[in-house]
Symmetry: C2
Subunit: 247 residues, 2 copies
Amino acid sequence: MKGTKPALYTSLSPALLHLYDVSRSIVVIIDVLRATSTIATVLFNGAKNIIPVDSVAECIRLGKQIEGITAGERDGHIAEGLVNGNSPFEYSKEFIGGKTLVLTTTNGTKLLHMALEKGAKGIITGSFPNLSAVCDYLVAAKKPVILGCAAWKDRVNIEDTLFAGAVISRVKAHFDINCDSSKMAEIMYNDAKDDMYEFMKSKNASHYLRLTKYGLEKDIRYCLSEDVANVLCMYEGGKLVKGNLPS
Amino acid sequence: MKGTKPALYTSLSPALLHLYDVSRSIVVIIDVLRATSTIATVLFNGAKNIIPVDSVAECIRLGKQIEGITAGERDGHIAEGLVNGNSPFEYSKEFIGGKTLVLTTTNGTKLLHMALEKGAKGIITGSFPNLSAVCDYLVAAKKPVILGCAAWKDRVNIEDTLFAGAVISRVKAHFDINCDSSKMAEIMYNDAKDDMYEFMKSKNASHYLRLTKYGLEKDIRYCLSEDVANVLCMYEGGKLVKGNLPS
């Protein structure tokens, strides 16, 4: 039955995405610290939708036009002209329920637009807070999958790789996986899964160092917590919306 | 003293090499199965030098011109028009001593020429058979290092990553390493080091599958053996030659 399963690949950096057959695949955008974790939280807490944009200027322009909440950071601080930051803790039900968030992030948005341009069959976002929703969707969809790590300015990072590994460890029976990057991701996840925060800390992971410099230990712990905002985040018609499993 | 150490980065694929400062660095070309393992063996067994070339046609042309031994494979067989293959077992002292080998490989040669074009401060090749020579050289040179995995048509592979991890585990006290790819490589190596062949087999590594299909288990075992052809392989003036440690 092996040949009848769809293929699954892991792209460890946006600079490697072109190696895979995007146009036949569902692409999972992975930007664990913190874009896709915050996206899951925002939709879990009842936002109407999220519009990801490339730049701060576009975020400001569109925010005004549609009366949405603008959000984005540069170098650990809310970007000038925007109202909110990238932390999931900024988006309670009371604050974000029913609203539209216009969000600018560097790495995640870039990868999402690359997947879109290459004609992906479907695009969802993935993070530990919505791990089960991602896995359930991929298993139900029965289509080829690319786990797309957003990385950091194209440099491979540990936490996005760990999330790819977490997905693989759960869905691998349903896919044909001849991809060393996927094997490596699963090996990493198996090493780390008992305490991912401690793993990131003990390895001096680059984004552990970057975010703790800004006092964001609490954000890191949350972004490594499984299923605390377990909602499917689908990209449809230019917006990220809460999705349903394929019927 | 941390700030005074040179930096070390790992480039998991030639498609990521541009992210690193090649012109200030020594680049280690890593193509474990089997190009750089064979290169170490050929120089260890007394070849005069090795000329790496991009194509079979160039290999034939140059081989005739300089009366060298031509070598290269495509799809697991000696390429048409060439005399030898990529297996380290083809290159005994008796056969290769004092001779010039003109070698064409797909992934390793491509990466070597990329590093050359980007003006690398130095280029050496690395493999488990010459692991200690690589480490001794890097520590003595006291320059920034890029561990360049040749990968497979730009796709990240396990065995080149493992070799990067082996180097890092030995030299890390001498370098400043803020690079998640390097951390991942070391984690992988620590998982695998007790029995790398079994590791490759149990993970169904893509090149384990590819080479065993051609009956090359013996080659894989050799290429994962540390220091069995422990010679420094330096690229100088278009040729790979046996090098000496910096004085």
